[in-house]
Protein backbone atom coordinates (compact mmCIF):
# COMPACT_ATOMS: atom_id res chain seq x y z
CA UNK A 1 0.00 0.00 0.00
CA UNK A 2 1.31 3.43 -0.74
CA UNK A 3 -1.36 5.49 0.97
CA UNK A 4 0.06 8.74 2.28
CA UNK A 5 -0.56 8.63 5.99
CA UNK A 6 1.23 11.85 6.90
CA UNK A 7 1.47 14.75 4.54
CA UNK A 8 3.19 18.06 5.26
CA UNK A 9 2.84 21.05 2.97
CA UNK A 10 4.91 24.14 3.51
CA UNK A 11 5.10 23.34 7.22
CA UNK A 12 6.83 26.21 8.99
CA UNK A 13 7.53 27.15 12.58
CA UNK A 14 8.96 30.48 13.59
CA UNK A 15 9.82 31.08 17.24
CA UNK A 16 9.76 34.56 18.72
CA UNK A 17 8.97 36.06 15.31
CA UNK A 18 12.48 35.67 13.92
CA UNK A 19 13.94 32.27 14.69
CA UNK A 20 12.95 29.98 11.82
CA UNK A 21 13.16 26.45 13.22
CA UNK A 22 11.32 24.68 10.41
CA UNK A 23 11.25 26.33 7.03
CA UNK A 24 8.53 25.41 4.50
CA UNK A 25 8.97 21.69 4.74
CA UNK A 26 7.17 19.26 2.41
CA UNK A 27 7.11 15.50 2.80
CA UNK A 28 4.78 12.54 2.67
CA UNK A 29 4.97 9.33 4.65
CA UNK A 30 3.49 6.10 3.37
CA UNK A 31 1.51 3.66 5.45
CA UNK A 32 3.64 0.98 7.03
CA UNK A 33 7.06 2.51 6.52
CA UNK A 34 9.67 3.70 8.99
CA UNK A 35 10.45 7.24 8.05
CA UNK A 36 13.45 8.93 9.59
CA UNK A 37 14.38 12.55 10.03
CA UNK A 38 18.15 12.76 10.10
CA UNK A 39 20.00 15.92 10.94
CA UNK A 40 22.35 17.65 13.33
CA UNK A 41 21.18 19.05 16.65
CA UNK A 42 19.05 22.12 16.23
CA UNK A 43 18.15 21.24 12.64
CA UNK A 44 14.41 21.34 13.34
CA UNK A 45 13.68 17.64 13.82
CA UNK A 46 12.01 17.87 17.22
CA UNK A 47 10.11 21.00 16.22
CA UNK A 48 8.68 19.15 13.21
CA UNK A 49 7.69 16.19 15.36
CA UNK A 50 6.12 18.49 17.94
CA UNK A 51 3.97 20.07 15.27
CA UNK A 52 2.87 16.68 13.95
CA UNK A 53 1.94 15.46 17.44
CA UNK A 54 0.00 18.71 18.03
CA UNK A 55 2.22 20.15 20.76
CA UNK A 56 3.11 23.12 18.61
CA UNK A 57 0.97 25.05 16.20
CA UNK A 58 2.56 25.64 12.81
CA UNK A 59 3.23 29.28 12.03
CA UNK A 60 2.52 28.62 8.38
CA UNK A 61 1.60 25.67 6.17
CA UNK A 62 -0.29 22.55 7.13
CA UNK A 63 0.12 18.89 7.75
CA UNK A 64 -2.34 16.07 8.02
CA UNK A 65 -2.07 12.86 9.97
CA UNK A 66 -4.37 10.13 8.66
CA UNK A 67 -6.30 12.85 6.90
CA UNK A 68 -6.81 14.90 10.09
CA UNK A 69 -5.54 18.45 10.05
CA UNK A 70 -2.97 18.88 12.84
CA UNK A 71 -4.15 22.37 13.71
CA UNK A 72 -7.91 22.04 13.37
CA UNK A 73 -8.53 18.40 14.28
CA UNK A 74 -5.90 17.92 16.95
CA UNK A 75 -8.12 15.73 19.11
CA UNK A 76 -8.55 13.20 16.30
CA UNK A 77 -4.82 13.25 15.66
CA UNK A 78 -4.02 12.63 19.32
CA UNK A 79 -6.20 9.54 19.35
CA UNK A 80 -4.47 7.76 16.49
CA UNK A 81 -0.86 8.52 17.34
CA UNK A 82 1.57 7.24 19.94
CA UNK A 83 4.47 9.35 21.11
CA UNK A 84 7.81 8.37 22.55
CA UNK A 85 9.46 11.66 23.44
CA UNK A 86 13.14 12.43 23.62
CA UNK A 87 13.15 12.74 27.40
CA UNK A 88 12.41 10.08 29.94
CA UNK A 89 8.90 11.14 30.81
CA UNK A 90 7.84 8.29 33.04
CA UNK A 91 7.09 9.32 36.60
CA UNK A 92 10.01 8.12 38.68
CA UNK A 93 8.01 7.78 41.86
CA UNK A 94 5.56 5.37 40.28
CA UNK A 95 6.16 1.79 39.20
CA UNK A 96 6.45 0.72 35.57
CA UNK A 97 2.97 -0.74 35.58
CA UNK A 98 1.46 2.34 37.23
CA UNK A 99 3.05 4.50 34.57
CA UNK A 100 1.57 2.45 31.74
CA UNK A 101 -1.85 2.47 33.37
CA UNK A 102 -1.61 6.23 33.81
CA UNK A 103 -0.96 6.56 30.08
CA UNK A 104 -3.95 4.32 29.44
CA UNK A 105 -6.11 6.56 31.64
CA UNK A 106 -5.02 9.60 29.66
CA UNK A 107 -6.52 7.95 26.59
CA UNK A 108 -9.63 6.99 28.52
CA UNK A 109 -9.03 3.27 27.97
CA UNK A 110 -11.26 1.19 30.29
CA UNK A 111 -9.33 -0.32 33.20
CA UNK A 112 -9.84 -3.94 32.19
CA UNK A 113 -8.60 -3.43 28.64
CA UNK A 114 -5.78 -1.27 29.94
CA UNK A 115 -4.55 -3.98 32.28
CA UNK A 116 -4.59 -6.60 29.54
CA UNK A 117 -2.71 -4.35 27.16
CA UNK A 118 -0.23 -3.28 29.83
CA UNK A 119 0.70 -6.88 30.62
CA UNK A 120 1.05 -7.64 26.93
CA UNK A 121 3.26 -4.61 26.32
CA UNK A 122 5.38 -5.23 29.40
CA UNK A 123 6.03 -8.70 28.11
CA UNK A 124 6.91 -7.36 24.69
CA UNK A 125 9.53 -4.95 26.06
CA UNK A 126 10.63 -7.54 28.63
CA UNK A 127 9.81 -5.54 31.72
CA UNK A 128 7.29 -7.93 33.25
CA UNK A 129 9.70 -8.82 36.06
CA UNK A 130 10.22 -5.17 36.94
CA UNK A 131 6.66 -3.88 36.56
CA UNK A 132 6.16 -3.35 40.30
CA UNK A 133 9.49 -1.61 40.83
CA UNK A 134 9.70 2.17 40.97
CA UNK A 135 10.99 3.69 37.75
CA UNK A 136 13.85 5.37 39.66
CA UNK A 137 15.47 1.94 39.89
CA UNK A 138 15.35 1.39 36.10
CA UNK A 139 18.39 1.65 33.82
CA UNK A 140 18.41 3.94 30.78
CA UNK A 141 17.55 1.09 28.43
CA UNK A 142 14.69 -0.08 30.64
CA UNK A 143 13.26 3.43 30.79
CA UNK A 144 13.41 3.67 27.02
CA UNK A 145 11.52 0.41 26.75
CA UNK A 146 8.95 1.63 29.23
CA UNK A 147 8.49 4.77 27.14
CA UNK A 148 7.96 2.57 24.10
CA UNK A 149 5.32 0.57 25.95
CA UNK A 150 3.57 3.77 27.09
CA UNK A 151 3.57 5.08 23.55
CA UNK A 152 1.81 1.95 22.35
CA UNK A 153 -0.95 1.70 24.96
CA UNK A 154 -3.59 3.26 22.70
CA UNK A 155 -2.69 0.96 19.77
CA UNK A 156 -1.54 3.88 17.65
CA UNK A 157 -1.61 3.72 13.89
CA UNK A 158 1.44 5.95 13.76
CA UNK A 159 4.17 5.95 16.36
CA UNK A 160 6.42 8.99 16.73
CA UNK A 161 9.87 8.39 18.14
CA UNK A 162 11.98 11.42 18.95
CA UNK A 163 15.63 10.41 19.21
CA UNK A 164 14.72 6.98 20.58
CA UNK A 165 18.25 6.05 21.61
CA UNK A 166 19.61 9.41 22.71
CA UNK A 167 22.19 8.99 25.43
CA UNK A 168 22.17 5.19 25.41
CA UNK A 169 25.35 3.17 25.14
CA UNK A 170 26.02 1.27 21.93
CA UNK A 171 24.82 -2.10 23.21
CA UNK A 172 21.57 -0.77 24.64
CA UNK A 173 21.06 1.20 21.48
CA UNK A 174 21.26 -1.90 19.32
CA UNK A 175 18.90 -3.70 21.69
CA UNK A 176 16.44 -0.80 21.44
CA UNK A 177 16.54 -1.00 17.67
CA UNK A 178 15.56 -4.63 17.91
CA UNK A 179 12.60 -3.73 20.10
CA UNK A 180 11.50 -1.10 17.62
CA UNK A 181 11.74 -3.59 14.76
CA UNK A 182 9.80 -6.11 16.82
CA UNK A 183 7.08 -3.58 17.63
CA UNK A 184 6.70 -2.63 14.02
CA UNK A 185 6.41 -6.27 13.02
CA UNK A 186 3.93 -7.02 15.80
CA UNK A 187 1.61 -4.07 15.23
CA UNK A 188 2.32 -3.18 11.60
CA UNK A 189 2.46 0.49 12.46
CA UNK A 190 3.88 3.40 10.58
CA UNK A 191 6.85 4.92 12.37
CA UNK A 192 8.15 8.43 12.22
CA UNK A 193 11.46 8.90 13.96
CA UNK A 194 14.15 11.50 14.34
CA UNK A 195 17.77 10.72 14.98
CA UNK A 196 21.20 12.12 14.62
CA UNK A 197 22.78 8.68 14.67
CA UNK A 198 23.58 7.61 11.15
CA UNK A 199 23.77 3.91 11.93
CA UNK A 200 20.34 4.18 13.47
CA UNK A 201 18.78 5.70 10.39
CA UNK A 202 20.60 3.19 8.21
CA UNK A 203 19.54 0.14 10.17
CA UNK A 204 15.93 1.11 10.92
CA UNK A 205 14.53 3.44 8.33
CA UNK A 206 12.87 2.59 5.06
CA UNK A 207 13.20 6.18 3.96
CA UNK A 208 15.21 9.08 5.27
CA UNK A 209 14.85 12.82 5.00
CA UNK A 210 18.01 14.77 5.75
CA UNK A 211 17.10 18.03 7.43
CA UNK A 212 19.39 20.92 8.20
CA UNK A 213 18.71 24.55 9.14
CA UNK A 214 15.00 23.76 9.12
CA UNK A 215 14.94 22.61 5.52
CA UNK A 216 14.71 19.15 4.03
CA UNK A 217 17.74 18.71 1.85
CA UNK A 218 17.10 15.29 0.37
CA UNK A 219 14.66 12.40 0.79
CA UNK A 220 15.17 8.78 -0.21
CA UNK A 221 15.90 5.24 0.88
CA UNK A 222 19.29 4.77 2.54
CA UNK A 223 20.35 2.81 -0.57
CA UNK A 224 19.28 5.54 -2.96
CA UNK A 225 21.03 8.19 -0.95
CA UNK A 226 24.26 6.25 -0.87
CA UNK A 227 23.92 5.63 -4.56
CA UNK A 228 23.39 9.29 -5.27
CA UNK A 229 26.94 9.97 -4.13
CA UNK A 230 28.12 8.39 -7.35
CA UNK A 231 29.57 5.06 -6.39
CA UNK A 232 32.48 3.78 -4.35
CA UNK A 233 35.57 5.58 -3.18
CA UNK A 234 39.07 4.37 -3.97
CA UNK A 235 41.83 5.93 -1.93
CA UNK A 236 45.41 5.34 -3.05
CA UNK A 237 48.92 6.61 -2.48
CA UNK A 238 51.77 6.62 -4.97
CA UNK A 239 55.50 6.45 -4.29
CA UNK A 240 57.14 9.94 -4.27
CA UNK A 241 53.69 11.54 -4.62
CA UNK A 242 53.77 12.81 -8.23
CA UNK A 243 50.71 14.49 -9.81
CA UNK A 244 48.90 11.74 -11.68
CA UNK A 245 45.39 13.16 -11.66
CA UNK A 246 45.11 13.08 -15.45
CA UNK A 247 46.26 9.49 -15.67
CA UNK A 248 43.61 8.36 -13.19
CA UNK A 249 40.94 10.45 -14.83
CA UNK A 250 41.55 8.75 -18.15
CA UNK A 251 40.42 5.40 -16.76
CA UNK A 252 36.83 4.48 -17.64
CA UNK A 253 34.21 4.51 -14.81
CA UNK A 254 36.23 7.06 -12.82
CA UNK A 255 33.98 9.98 -12.06
CA UNK A 256 36.05 12.26 -9.94
CA UNK A 257 39.59 12.54 -8.62
CA UNK A 258 40.74 14.64 -5.71
CA UNK A 259 44.29 14.93 -4.48
CA UNK A 260 44.57 15.56 -0.81
CA UNK A 261 47.46 15.15 1.65
CA UNK A 262 49.58 12.90 -0.52
CA UNK A 263 46.80 10.56 -1.47
CA UNK A 264 44.12 10.43 -4.15
CA UNK A 265 40.45 10.12 -3.49
CA UNK A 266 38.76 8.58 -6.49
CA UNK A 267 35.02 8.32 -6.93
CA UNK A 268 34.13 5.46 -9.23
CA UNK A 269 31.25 3.17 -10.02
CA UNK A 270 31.90 -0.52 -9.35
CA UNK A 271 35.03 0.26 -7.35
CA UNK A 272 36.18 -3.34 -7.05
CA UNK A 273 36.28 -3.66 -10.86
CA UNK A 274 37.70 -0.22 -11.53
CA UNK A 275 40.57 -0.34 -9.02
CA UNK A 276 42.68 -2.90 -10.97
CA UNK A 277 42.32 -0.77 -14.10
CA UNK A 278 43.59 2.26 -12.25
CA UNK A 279 46.61 0.36 -10.94
CA UNK A 280 47.32 -0.98 -14.41
CA UNK A 281 47.14 2.49 -16.00
CA UNK A 282 49.53 3.90 -13.40
CA UNK A 283 51.95 0.98 -13.73
CA UNK A 284 52.14 1.51 -17.51
CA UNK A 285 53.32 5.09 -16.88
CA UNK A 286 55.90 3.83 -14.40
CA UNK A 287 54.23 4.85 -11.14
CA UNK A 288 54.20 2.54 -8.12
CA UNK A 289 51.02 2.29 -6.03
CA UNK A 290 52.03 1.93 -2.38
CA UNK A 291 48.65 1.86 -0.69
CA UNK A 292 45.08 1.23 -1.82
CA UNK A 293 41.77 1.28 0.00
CA UNK A 294 38.32 0.64 -1.35
CA UNK A 295 35.27 1.96 0.55
CA UNK A 296 31.63 1.67 -0.24
CA UNK A 297 29.76 4.84 0.63
CA UNK A 298 28.08 4.93 4.04
CA UNK A 299 25.32 7.16 5.18
CA UNK A 300 28.04 9.10 6.92
CA UNK A 301 29.32 10.32 3.58
CA UNK A 302 25.80 11.09 2.45
CA UNK A 303 25.29 13.12 5.58
CA UNK A 304 28.49 15.05 5.15
CA UNK A 305 27.80 15.59 1.49
CA UNK A 306 24.33 17.00 2.06
CA UNK A 307 24.61 18.86 5.35
CA UNK A 308 28.16 19.97 4.59
CA UNK A 309 28.67 20.04 8.28
CA UNK A 310 32.46 20.11 8.13
CA UNK A 311 32.15 23.09 5.81
CA UNK A 312 29.77 24.86 8.15
CA UNK A 313 32.05 24.37 11.11
CA UNK A 314 34.75 26.38 9.42
CA UNK A 315 32.37 29.10 8.33
CA UNK A 316 30.63 29.63 11.64
CA UNK A 317 32.28 29.76 14.98
CA UNK A 318 31.35 26.98 17.31
CA UNK A 319 30.20 29.59 19.77
CA UNK A 320 27.67 31.11 17.42
CA UNK A 321 26.32 27.68 16.72
CA UNK A 322 26.00 26.88 20.40
CA UNK A 323 24.27 30.17 21.08
CA UNK A 324 21.77 29.46 18.34
CA UNK A 325 21.04 26.05 19.75
CA UNK A 326 20.53 27.47 23.21
CA UNK A 327 18.08 30.02 21.87
CA UNK A 328 16.19 27.37 19.98
CA UNK A 329 15.95 25.22 23.06
CA UNK A 330 14.71 28.12 25.15
CA UNK A 331 12.24 29.22 22.56
CA UNK A 332 10.92 25.76 22.17
CA UNK A 333 10.04 25.15 25.78
Amino acid sequence: MSEEIIKAEGLTKVFNKHLVAVDHVNFAIKRGEIFGFLGPNGAGKTTTINMLITLLKPTEGTASVLGFDIAKQHDNVRHVIGVVPQEYTADEDLTGLENILLCADLYGIPRKTAKERAEELLKLVELTDFKDKKVQTYSGGMRRRLELACGLINRPIILFLDEPTLGLDVQTRTATWNYIKKLKKEFGMTLFMTTHYLEEADSLCDRIAIIDHGKIIVVGTPEDLKHSLGGDVITLSIKDDPDVTDVIRSVGNVKDVKREDGSYRIKAELGEVTAPFVIEALRKKGYVVTKLMLTEPTLNEVYLEYTGRSLRDTEESAEAFRAQRMTMRRART
Binding site: D75, H79, P85, D91, D93, L94, L102, C103, D105, Y107
Partner: protein, 312 residues
Amino acid sequence: MSTSNEHNASKFHGIWALTKRELKKWLKEPLILLMAVLQPVIWMGLFGKAMNLGNMFSSSNLNIPSVLPIPGSAVVPPQSGSIYISGTALSQMFGNLGPSIMHNIFGVSDYFSYMSVGMISFIVMFTTMFSGMSIVWDRRLGFLNKVLSTPVSRGAVILSKVFNASLRAMFQATIILVLAVIFGLQVSSTFSPINILGLYAAIFLLCVGLSSVFLALALRSTKWETQMAIVNLLNLPLMFASNTFFPISQMPEWIQAIARVNPVSYLTDAVRQLTVYQLDSTALMFDFAFLGVFALIFSAIGIALSWRYLTK
Protein backbone atom coordinates in the same frame (compact mmCIF):
# COMPACT_ATOMS: atom_id res chain seq x y z
CA MET B 1 -8.17 2.24 16.55
CA SER B 2 -9.77 4.01 19.46
CA THR B 3 -13.49 3.83 19.68
CA SER B 4 -15.71 6.87 20.04
CA ASN B 5 -16.56 5.60 23.49
CA GLU B 6 -12.96 6.02 24.61
CA HIS B 7 -12.97 9.47 23.08
CA ASN B 8 -15.82 10.70 25.24
CA ALA B 9 -14.64 9.04 28.42
CA SER B 10 -11.23 10.69 28.34
CA LYS B 11 -12.56 14.19 29.00
CA PHE B 12 -13.47 13.27 32.56
CA HIS B 13 -11.16 10.34 32.94
CA GLY B 14 -8.13 12.53 32.42
CA ILE B 15 -8.68 14.81 35.40
CA TRP B 16 -9.09 11.89 37.74
CA ALA B 17 -6.13 9.98 36.27
CA LEU B 18 -3.81 12.94 36.72
CA THR B 19 -5.10 13.71 40.21
CA LYS B 20 -4.59 10.09 41.16
CA ARG B 21 -1.02 10.23 39.93
CA GLU B 22 -0.23 13.19 42.16
CA LEU B 23 -1.91 11.66 45.18
CA LYS B 24 -0.03 8.42 44.67
CA LYS B 25 3.25 10.26 44.50
CA TRP B 26 2.34 12.09 47.67
CA LEU B 27 1.33 9.01 49.61
CA LYS B 28 4.53 7.28 48.57
CA GLU B 29 6.58 9.92 50.35
CA PRO B 30 5.41 9.82 53.96
CA LEU B 31 8.43 11.90 54.95
CA ILE B 32 7.26 14.88 52.91
CA LEU B 33 3.80 14.53 54.40
CA LEU B 34 5.28 14.39 57.88
CA MET B 35 7.32 17.55 57.26
CA ALA B 36 4.32 19.32 55.82
CA VAL B 37 2.38 18.62 58.99
CA LEU B 38 5.32 19.20 61.30
CA GLN B 39 5.91 22.72 60.05
CA PRO B 40 2.56 24.16 61.18
CA VAL B 41 2.79 22.12 64.36
CA ILE B 42 6.07 23.82 65.17
CA TRP B 43 4.53 27.19 64.39
CA MET B 44 1.57 26.37 66.58
CA GLY B 45 3.79 25.14 69.38
CA LEU B 46 6.34 27.93 69.33
CA PHE B 47 4.41 30.89 68.04
CA GLY B 48 1.00 30.03 69.42
CA LYS B 49 2.18 29.03 72.84
CA ALA B 50 5.10 31.45 73.21
CA MET B 51 3.07 34.52 72.31
CA ASN B 52 0.90 34.16 75.36
CA LEU B 53 -1.00 37.38 74.82
CA GLY B 54 -3.83 36.51 77.19
CA ASN B 55 -1.42 36.15 80.06
CA MET B 56 0.19 39.52 79.30
CA PHE B 57 -2.79 41.34 80.75
CA SER B 58 -3.18 39.19 83.82
CA SER B 59 -2.92 40.76 87.31
CA SER B 60 0.44 39.11 88.02
CA ASN B 61 1.97 41.28 85.30
CA LEU B 62 0.60 44.53 86.70
CA ASN B 63 2.92 44.87 89.75
CA ILE B 64 0.53 47.04 91.74
CA PRO B 65 1.70 47.63 95.36
CA SER B 66 -0.74 46.67 98.08
CA VAL B 67 -1.51 50.33 98.79
CA LEU B 68 -1.45 52.96 96.04
CA PRO B 69 -1.16 56.63 97.03
CA ILE B 70 -2.84 59.13 94.72
CA PRO B 71 -1.51 62.68 95.07
CA GLY B 72 -4.18 65.25 95.86
CA SER B 73 -3.28 67.23 92.73
CA ALA B 74 -4.48 64.30 90.60
CA VAL B 75 -7.96 64.51 92.01
CA VAL B 76 -10.47 66.90 90.47
CA PRO B 77 -11.22 69.26 92.08
CA PRO B 78 -7.72 69.44 93.66
CA GLN B 79 -7.57 68.54 97.30
CA SER B 80 -4.92 68.84 99.87
CA GLY B 81 -3.53 65.65 101.27
CA SER B 82 -3.71 62.24 99.52
CA ILE B 83 -6.24 59.51 98.89
CA TYR B 84 -5.31 55.87 99.12
CA ILE B 85 -6.60 53.05 96.95
CA SER B 86 -6.41 49.37 97.78
CA GLY B 87 -3.92 47.82 95.35
CA THR B 88 -5.47 44.38 95.74
CA ALA B 89 -8.84 45.65 94.61
CA LEU B 90 -7.22 47.51 91.71
CA SER B 91 -5.24 44.52 90.49
CA GLN B 92 -8.41 42.46 90.60
CA MET B 93 -10.10 45.13 88.50
CA PHE B 94 -7.29 45.21 85.96
CA GLY B 95 -6.94 41.44 86.06
CA ASN B 96 -10.45 41.12 84.67
CA LEU B 97 -9.57 43.60 81.95
CA GLY B 98 -7.21 41.07 80.31
CA PRO B 99 -9.73 38.48 79.13
CA SER B 100 -12.06 41.28 78.16
CA ILE B 101 -9.41 42.93 75.94
CA MET B 102 -8.54 39.56 74.42
CA HIS B 103 -12.14 38.90 73.71
CA ASN B 104 -12.74 42.27 72.14
CA ILE B 105 -9.67 42.20 69.95
CA PHE B 106 -9.19 38.54 69.15
CA GLY B 107 -12.70 37.23 69.69
CA VAL B 108 -11.39 34.43 71.88
CA SER B 109 -9.91 34.45 75.35
CA ASP B 110 -6.59 32.81 74.52
CA TYR B 111 -4.18 33.51 71.70
CA PHE B 112 -3.52 29.84 71.01
CA SER B 113 -7.12 29.22 70.00
CA TYR B 114 -6.87 32.23 67.73
CA MET B 115 -3.69 31.36 65.88
CA SER B 116 -3.85 27.57 65.77
CA VAL B 117 -6.95 27.84 63.62
CA GLY B 118 -5.07 30.32 61.45
CA MET B 119 -2.58 27.57 60.76
CA ILE B 120 -5.19 26.02 58.48
CA SER B 121 -4.88 29.03 56.18
CA PHE B 122 -1.13 28.75 56.50
CA ILE B 123 -1.17 25.16 55.26
CA VAL B 124 -3.54 25.97 52.42
CA MET B 125 -1.20 28.71 51.29
CA PHE B 126 1.87 26.53 51.28
CA THR B 127 0.24 23.56 49.65
CA THR B 128 -1.19 25.64 46.83
CA MET B 129 2.07 27.47 46.25
CA PHE B 130 3.82 24.21 45.59
CA SER B 131 1.22 23.11 43.08
CA GLY B 132 2.67 25.76 40.79
CA MET B 133 6.10 24.29 41.38
CA SER B 134 4.96 20.83 40.35
CA ILE B 135 3.85 21.96 36.91
CA VAL B 136 7.28 23.47 36.35
CA TRP B 137 8.83 20.10 37.16
CA ASP B 138 6.40 18.27 34.92
CA ARG B 139 7.44 20.53 32.10
CA ARG B 140 11.13 20.13 32.76
CA LEU B 141 10.95 16.37 32.95
CA GLY B 142 8.94 16.13 29.75
CA PHE B 143 5.93 14.61 31.49
CA LEU B 144 3.82 17.60 30.57
CA ASN B 145 4.61 17.20 26.88
CA LYS B 146 3.65 13.56 27.01
CA VAL B 147 0.33 14.39 28.60
CA LEU B 148 -0.29 17.12 26.04
CA SER B 149 0.22 14.69 23.18
CA THR B 150 -2.65 12.56 24.50
CA PRO B 151 -6.30 13.50 24.03
CA VAL B 152 -6.53 14.81 27.61
CA SER B 153 -7.98 18.29 27.70
CA ARG B 154 -5.63 21.16 28.56
CA GLY B 155 -7.97 22.24 31.29
CA ALA B 156 -7.67 18.81 32.89
CA VAL B 157 -3.96 19.38 33.42
CA ILE B 158 -4.72 22.44 35.53
CA LEU B 159 -7.80 21.07 37.24
CA SER B 160 -6.02 17.91 38.35
CA LYS B 161 -3.36 20.02 40.06
CA VAL B 162 -6.04 22.16 41.67
CA PHE B 163 -7.91 19.13 43.00
CA ASN B 164 -4.72 17.54 44.18
CA ALA B 165 -3.74 20.65 46.14
CA SER B 166 -7.23 20.83 47.63
CA LEU B 167 -7.29 17.22 48.75
CA ARG B 168 -3.86 17.53 50.29
CA ALA B 169 -4.72 20.73 52.10
CA MET B 170 -7.97 19.27 53.47
CA PHE B 171 -6.11 16.27 54.77
CA GLN B 172 -3.44 18.38 56.41
CA ALA B 173 -6.01 20.76 57.84
CA THR B 174 -7.72 17.83 59.51
CA ILE B 175 -4.49 16.76 61.17
CA ILE B 176 -3.77 20.30 62.31
CA LEU B 177 -7.21 20.71 63.76
CA VAL B 178 -6.96 17.47 65.70
CA LEU B 179 -3.53 18.41 67.01
CA ALA B 180 -4.73 21.89 67.95
CA VAL B 181 -7.56 20.40 70.00
CA ILE B 182 -5.05 18.15 71.76
CA PHE B 183 -2.80 21.16 72.48
CA GLY B 184 -5.65 23.12 74.04
CA LEU B 185 -7.83 24.69 71.37
CA GLN B 186 -11.15 25.75 72.89
CA VAL B 187 -14.11 25.49 70.56
CA SER B 188 -17.03 27.84 71.11
CA SER B 189 -20.46 26.84 72.27
CA THR B 190 -21.85 27.20 68.76
CA PHE B 191 -19.50 24.54 67.40
CA SER B 192 -21.07 21.34 66.15
CA PRO B 193 -19.49 18.46 64.19
CA ILE B 194 -21.44 19.52 61.09
CA ASN B 195 -19.33 22.68 61.01
CA ILE B 196 -16.42 20.51 59.88
CA LEU B 197 -18.16 20.10 56.52
CA GLY B 198 -18.37 23.86 56.17
CA LEU B 199 -14.70 24.02 57.06
CA TYR B 200 -13.80 21.66 54.24
CA ALA B 201 -15.93 23.62 51.81
CA ALA B 202 -14.17 26.86 52.73
CA ILE B 203 -10.74 25.25 52.46
CA PHE B 204 -11.67 23.79 49.07
CA LEU B 205 -12.73 27.18 47.74
CA LEU B 206 -9.53 28.94 48.76
CA CYS B 207 -7.46 26.04 47.41
CA VAL B 208 -9.15 26.26 44.03
CA GLY B 209 -8.60 30.01 43.86
CA LEU B 210 -5.04 30.15 45.14
CA SER B 211 -3.70 27.13 43.28
CA SER B 212 -5.20 28.51 40.07
CA VAL B 213 -3.27 31.71 40.67
CA PHE B 214 0.02 29.93 41.28
CA LEU B 215 -0.49 27.50 38.40
CA ALA B 216 -1.30 30.35 36.04
CA LEU B 217 1.93 32.05 37.12
CA ALA B 218 3.86 28.84 36.50
CA LEU B 219 2.29 27.86 33.18
CA ARG B 220 5.03 29.15 30.94
CA SER B 221 7.89 28.96 33.37
CA THR B 222 10.62 26.40 32.85
CA LYS B 223 12.68 27.37 35.85
CA TRP B 224 11.66 26.31 39.29
CA GLU B 225 13.86 29.09 40.67
CA THR B 226 11.45 31.65 39.22
CA GLN B 227 8.57 29.92 40.87
CA MET B 228 10.47 29.76 44.14
CA ALA B 229 11.08 33.51 43.97
CA ILE B 230 7.40 34.20 43.34
CA VAL B 231 6.39 31.99 46.24
CA ASN B 232 8.87 33.66 48.56
CA LEU B 233 7.75 37.09 47.49
CA LEU B 234 4.07 36.40 47.99
CA ASN B 235 3.96 34.23 51.06
CA LEU B 236 4.83 36.82 53.70
CA PRO B 237 2.39 39.50 52.56
CA LEU B 238 -0.35 36.91 52.10
CA MET B 239 0.28 35.54 55.56
CA PHE B 240 0.86 38.71 57.58
CA ALA B 241 -1.45 41.08 55.74
CA SER B 242 -4.30 38.89 56.87
CA ASN B 243 -5.98 37.92 60.11
CA THR B 244 -4.01 34.68 60.35
CA PHE B 245 -1.87 35.81 63.29
CA PHE B 246 -3.28 39.17 64.27
CA PRO B 247 -6.64 40.89 64.01
CA ILE B 248 -7.06 43.21 61.04
CA SER B 249 -8.76 45.88 63.15
CA GLN B 250 -5.51 46.62 64.99
CA MET B 251 -3.44 47.09 61.85
CA PRO B 252 -2.53 50.41 60.21
CA GLU B 253 -4.99 51.37 57.53
CA TRP B 254 -2.84 50.53 54.52
CA ILE B 255 -2.30 47.00 55.73
CA GLN B 256 -5.99 46.76 56.50
CA ALA B 257 -6.70 47.63 52.88
CA ILE B 258 -4.57 44.69 51.72
CA ALA B 259 -5.93 42.35 54.33
CA ARG B 260 -9.49 43.08 53.30
CA VAL B 261 -8.93 41.87 49.75
CA ASN B 262 -6.62 39.07 50.79
CA PRO B 263 -8.64 35.87 50.37
CA VAL B 264 -6.61 34.24 53.12
CA SER B 265 -8.37 36.51 55.62
CA TYR B 266 -11.74 35.17 54.54
CA LEU B 267 -10.78 31.54 54.92
CA THR B 268 -9.31 32.25 58.35
CA ASP B 269 -12.45 34.08 59.40
CA ALA B 270 -14.71 31.35 58.07
CA VAL B 271 -12.71 28.72 59.92
CA ARG B 272 -12.86 30.76 63.14
CA GLN B 273 -16.58 31.36 62.78
CA LEU B 274 -17.06 27.62 62.45
CA THR B 275 -14.83 26.63 65.36
CA VAL B 276 -13.71 29.13 67.99
CA TYR B 277 -16.06 32.09 67.51
CA GLN B 278 -19.66 32.48 68.48
CA LEU B 279 -21.05 31.84 65.02
CA ASP B 280 -22.10 35.00 63.17
CA SER B 281 -23.93 33.61 60.15
CA THR B 282 -23.93 36.90 58.24
CA ALA B 283 -20.16 37.15 58.49
CA LEU B 284 -19.82 33.51 57.52
CA MET B 285 -22.03 33.97 54.46
CA PHE B 286 -19.89 36.90 53.41
CA ASP B 287 -16.71 34.83 53.83
CA PHE B 288 -18.13 32.08 51.66
CA ALA B 289 -19.33 34.53 49.04
CA PHE B 290 -15.89 36.14 48.82
CA LEU B 291 -14.08 32.79 48.66
CA GLY B 292 -16.54 31.49 46.08
CA VAL B 293 -16.13 34.45 43.77
CA PHE B 294 -12.36 34.34 44.18
CA ALA B 295 -12.27 30.64 43.30
CA LEU B 296 -14.57 31.08 40.33
CA ILE B 297 -12.69 34.00 38.80
CA PHE B 298 -9.22 32.58 39.19
CA SER B 299 -9.99 29.02 38.15
CA ALA B 300 -11.64 30.43 35.02
CA ILE B 301 -8.54 32.52 34.34
CA GLY B 302 -6.32 29.49 35.00
CA ILE B 303 -8.23 27.28 32.59
CA ALA B 304 -8.36 29.99 29.94
CA LEU B 305 -4.61 30.54 30.22
CA SER B 306 -3.94 26.81 30.06
CA TRP B 307 -5.80 26.62 26.77
CA ARG B 308 -3.76 29.46 25.47
CA TYR B 309 -0.32 28.64 26.79
CA LEU B 310 -0.20 24.87 26.76
CA THR B 311 -0.36 24.93 22.96
CA LYS B 312 2.25 27.15 21.45
